[in-house]
């Protein structure tokens, strides 16, 4: 029966080159183990047969054919500048495709944002007529400080960004519980009064109490584009006199 020692000895003999000397342990084992001896004889014979295959000679015209092949390859190879040009064209084409893709994606996204903006805009839009003065609203949000304009002020409206539109849902703000600042005409001349209400995204209706029981309602139309100027007394809702 084969044991672990047989495996080791066979492996050792298998790894040696033919004719190479093996260890004394292997010699002793082969003397005792008939199975391993037979295996070793068969293995040696097999390796001798395989080794007898020897080398096959290349044909006599091997060199000639090889030279012809190399010459043929050299003549049929494309010139180096064409290879460089081809690579350059490939890179240019890739850049064009990437840039075009970027522009298209950007336009599509812009289009989608515009659509969203239209959906968020209030229903009532009153475009400013050329001969009709338009109220001006400043960007700062200070709804408590509503002051009537005293002197003509020219304020260039800053166009709100897309993000601003999103941040301003259509809503109503009631400031009637807050006391309004009373103007009694003692303000120094030349002090401009601003309307710190942003009505660019929605129309606003402001109700004011003048302290004598008279209520004034001012509707501020939506300003959606362009810039406006304040024209003193031009607004039909503007006060005609000091309160």
């Amino acid at each position: 029966m084969r044991n672990n020692n047989c495996e080791l000895i066979r492996r050792e003999l298998d790894e040696l080159m033919l004719g190479e000397a093996w260890s004394a342990a292997a010699t002793a084992h082969l003397r005792e183990c008939a199975e391993c001896r037979e295996f070793h004889e068969q293995q040696t014979k097999l390796r001798q047969i395989v080794g007898s295959l020897g080398t096959v000679e290349a044909p006599a015209d091997f060199d000639f054919r090889l030279r012809a092949r190399l010459a043929n390859d050299a003549s049929s190879a494309p010139p180096i500048y064409w290879a460089i040009a081809r690579r350059g064209l490939a890179v240019a084409a890739m850049v064009i495709v990437v840039v075009t893709g970027f522009v298209v994606v950007r336009d599509v996204m812009r289009q989608m944002e515009n659509n969203g903006e239209v959906a968020q805009k209030p229903q009532v839009q009153q475009p400013a007529k050329p001969d009709e003065p338009t109220p001006v609203v400043k960007e700062e949000k200070k709804p408590e400080q509503v002051v009537a304009g005293v002197t003509p002020v020219t304020i260039r409206k800053i166009r709100p960004t897309q993000a601003d539109y999103r941040k301003q849902p259509l809503s109503t703000k009631d400031v009637s519980s807050l006391g309004a600042k009373v103007l009694n005409g003692t303000e120094p001349a030349g002090v401009s009064a601003a309307f710190p209400i942003d009505s660019s995204a929605q129309s606003i209706t402001v109700s004011l109490e003048d302290g004598r029981g008279n209520a004034k309602t001012i509707s501020v139309p939506t300003v959606s584009f362009g810039s406006q100027r304040i024209v003193q007394g031009g607004n039909q809702f503007a006060p005609k006199r000091d309160w």
């Binding site: 298998d14 293995q43 047969i49 096959v56 091997f62 054919r65």
Partner: protein, 213 residues
């Protein structure tokens, strides 16, 4: 008495000359010269390796014309890649690696095309162990030369039926007599794997060649 002894008298001269000669005509030096456009250097490399490479590929593919073609392709690749050649390995390892890859690629192509070859005629389609096309005749032959020829043909056919992963290391070891280290480098695997594959390949062959052993 002149105590100075010339190198010639010591008998070192031939050895030194041989060293210098080997240095200038080593495979690496020849490839360097090829790189700089020396066609004769490349011709020398071809003459050194053409038989070895042709023979090796023939043992792998069992097709002489195809082997010559692949051997030429091997040299073409060496020539084309001369600029990129690195001296980290022996040139023989490098060229044998190219030849091995080409031979294995050819064997796989054949398998895909289901090309019928003489040795693979009875090869099962599942890639399993092939049956012997020409089983050995048990009758004794009188002519010893004929016996040898028959035996060599049988072993060549048997090698042709081995899976490629066993075939290459067996040929490199038992036909070409290369070391395990070199075979491992050629096949880009470990020495242990090489030894294991060679052992298994011999096992397969022993079963197939039982009638001749």
């Amino acid at each position: 008495m002149n105590t100075l002894t010339t190198i010639d008298e010591l008998g070192f001269a031939p050895a030194l000359q041989q060293d210098v000669l080997e240095d200038t005509t080593s495979d690496h030096a020849l490839l360097e010269a090829t790189r700089s456009g020396d066609q004769d250097a490349f011709a020398e490399l071809v003459s050194r390796y053409r038989n070895q490479i042709t023979s090796y590929i023939y043992r792998m593919t069992n097709d002489y014309d195809g082997a010559v073609d692949l051997a030429q392709e091997t040299f073409v690749r060496v020539y084309r890649a001369a600029d990129r050649y690195q001296r980290s390995y022996a040139f023989s390892t490098y060229i044998y690696r190219i030849a091995t890859n080409l031979a294995i690629s050819e064997l796989r192509k054949r398998k895909r095309r289901k090309l019928v070859s003489l040795t693979g005629f009875f090869q099962p389609s599942d890639g399993g162990e092939a049956k012997e096309l020409n089983p050995p005749d048990g009758r004794p032959l009188q002519d010893l030369e004929l016996v040898d020829t028959e035996r060599r043909n049988a072993v060549q056919r048997a090698i042709g039926t081995l899976p490629e992963k066993y075939r290459a290391p067996l040929i490199l070891r038992d036909v070409d007599g290369r070391s395990y280290d070199e075979i491992a480098k050629i096949l880009e695997t470990s020495e242990g794997t090489v030894k294991s594959r060679i052992s298994r390949a011999r096992g397969f062959l022993r079963e197939k060649m039982r009638a001749y052993l």
